[in-house]
Symmetry: C2
Subunit: 372 residues, 2 copies
């Protein structure tokens, strides 16, 4: 089977990169829709930087700031309606995973009619609005992926729109927007990025280049963990700017990884924890990741060894202990819930994407090990 | 200064990847111009694989197989004329660096009128034919760069067309086409790829992601060198398929690196060796690279240490010895020639791209160390 490498997004990196490269907005049109959440983009300075840039190059804009955590299908149809009614030329998404996910779906739905029942079909016309992406957390990597993850109440889980059409056109990585992130968000998003890099190495689509980026991303996040733990023990210790940059850059590289490899059983299992139990997405991955490493290790110890080496760890037990230290007290999940979540996870494409494919009983066992 | 990462080419990787993914040709049009050299694409099987793929998806084609080593401006204008007269929809370039360089210029010139005096201006309309790239040597990395290097007799050197317009649309990496490469070509191209990765780490545009790819590329090439040296000592020893794959993949990653970083004084100095002395491009880089490492080391030992570590070497002297072993007896260059070549190199953009910027006397000293 041949492998593929593709990540067409143009990425600007470094402090003040939006202002320094404001001219690039002009290549995308004259009117933008800014897609974001209610608060954080206004607080961390990203929205005002974007608006300054747009103003100074003469681009008008509207703001759609109704994106909630785990955005719904209704939310993206609403955003697309606003984009159409106002004839915007392109989308600017600012925020954590939720505005990133919503922005791509809005860019797609603004450019073409897609019925709700076909939204996740993977079959679309070759039309989409250009997108500018500004991550303000360091976890999702969505600024460099072709995925938009939405909450689908009919399927009782999160589902992906996956199409090359929705690779963002441009991304800006400026860690200054992440400086004030709360510690819990910092941990959950760092663990999300780590999960992307690790799962990328456990995918059947892993290649020499995705492994290269994944290993470096894992190393960078690993180097940041002691500082995060220090801050966890003493909230007066602020996470420094260099660490913030390393986390953002690691998240970006892990995003490139999953753009090639997709994710695995970890994400499949995690989606139910988020949907039914409102457990943060990154946290859900982090809770499950260690048990998945143990599961894969039985049949493919070499791959796991490579991951552990990148983290300077000697065993999957050490990995689990580290995640426990970062993630703290676990939620309660019943045996019946585990059974239901395992059924849902087994239906996802992520399962067949694993280098060692779990059966339903394997998923049950992993959930049980985590939550009992 | 903000950094940039951009490499939009869609890359298919692995044995028989052209045939396995033949459907992608259909997205590019109905008629192709195959740009290649006179011989190698016919011998190594690449041209017949392309033609089989085109035939089976109903795409017609013409062949322009007049690309010489170090293609000239006249050559690419001739190819573009054929492309226009025959209304081809896209370009397929097959071969080593020369057809790769020519194909991009032809794709650009077929889509827009550019006078010869403006060819290297960097100012173009936003029009180009789509391009499919199939490297059959493992050195240039051109399949994933925005550069087309042509021989400019007026400037008495090689010059670059550099524009994002000429990133290939699609690349196919199948190492089977490189299995029969002569040893000298194998060495010169491997050294070219090594030079790209190393120079990428010595560029002012180097970033965490270009460094990540560069280090891995350097390690992969380093792992192949003992096998190349064995074959050099005993020509009966054939370079195995796995080594061929590693060299091709390392060259690809080094191509992504220079797409971000550009090249340095090494390339600037090497172009004259190729133009005036007909020294192969990769060989020219390899001859000069060690002295450039020594030059940079004086002011920035950490960067050089990182490169040497990736190669398991302890000193720049060891690096020079290794290149000497690979490249054999050196050519004769006079003191007057060195002076002329240094003048030409000083005029290139590559000089200001170096993390430690050489003066003319530094270039002279490097040339002298190499050739005396």
């Amino acid at each position: 089977m041949s492998l593929k490498y593709h990540m067409p997004t143009k990425v600007f990196i470094g402090e003040n990169c939006i202002i320094e490269n404001k001219e690039v907005f002009k290549s995308l049109g004259k009117k933008a829709l800014i897609v974001t959440g209610a608060r954080s983009a206004k607080i961390n300075g990203s929205q005002s930087d974007v608006i300054s840039a747009l103003d100074s190059v003469g681009i008008s804009y509207l703001i759609f700031d109704k994106v909630m955590s785990n955005p719904t299908i209704a939310c993206v149809y609403e955003g697309a309606k606003i984009a159409r009614e106002n004839n915007v030329d392109f989308i600017i998404a600012i925020g954590g995973g939720s505005p990133m996910d919503a922005g791509k779906a809005i860019a797609l739905l603004a450019a073409q009619d897609i019925k709700e029942e076909n939204l996740f079909s993977g079959v679309y016309e070759n039309k989409v609005l250009p997108m500018v992406y500004i991550p303000t957390t360091a976890g999702t990597g969505s600024e460099v992926t072709q995925y938009s993850i939405l909450t689908n109440d009919k399927a009782k889980t999160k589902m992906s729109i996956a199409t090359e059409l929705i690779f963002p056109t441009i991304a800006f990585l400026d860690a200054k927007y992440t400086l004030q992130l709360p510690l819990t968000t910092t941990i959950n998003t760092a663990v999300d990025a780590l999960s992307h890099a690790v799962e990328g190495m456990l995918s059947i689509k892993a290649s020499f280049i995705s492994d290269t980026l994944a290993c470096e991303s894992i190393k960078m996040i690993t180097n940041c963990i002691p500082k995060i733990l220090k801050s966890l023990k003493n909230p007066d210790i602020v996470i420094d700017k260099n660490t913030r940059e390393q986390l953002l850059y690691a998240s970006f590289m892990a995003g490139i990884v999953i753009a090639q490899t997709g994710t695995t059983a970890v994400h499949a299992m995690g989606y139910s924890l988020t949907y039914f139990k409102d457990i943060d997405h990154g946290r859900a991955n982090g809770l499950l990741l260690g048990e998945f490493l143990k599961f894969v290790e039985k049949e493919n110890p070499d791959r796991i060894k490579k991951i552990l080496e990148a983290m300077n760890l000697n065993s999957t037990e050490e990995f689990i202990n580290l995640m426990d230290e970062l993630l703290g007290t676990k939620e309660n999940i019943t045996r019946d819930e585990i059974d239901e979540y395992s059924d849902i996870a087994m239906k996802t494409k992520n399962i067949s994407n694993c280098i060692v494919k779990p059966k339903k009983e394997d998923l049950i066992k992993m959930y049980q090990e985590v939550f009992n």
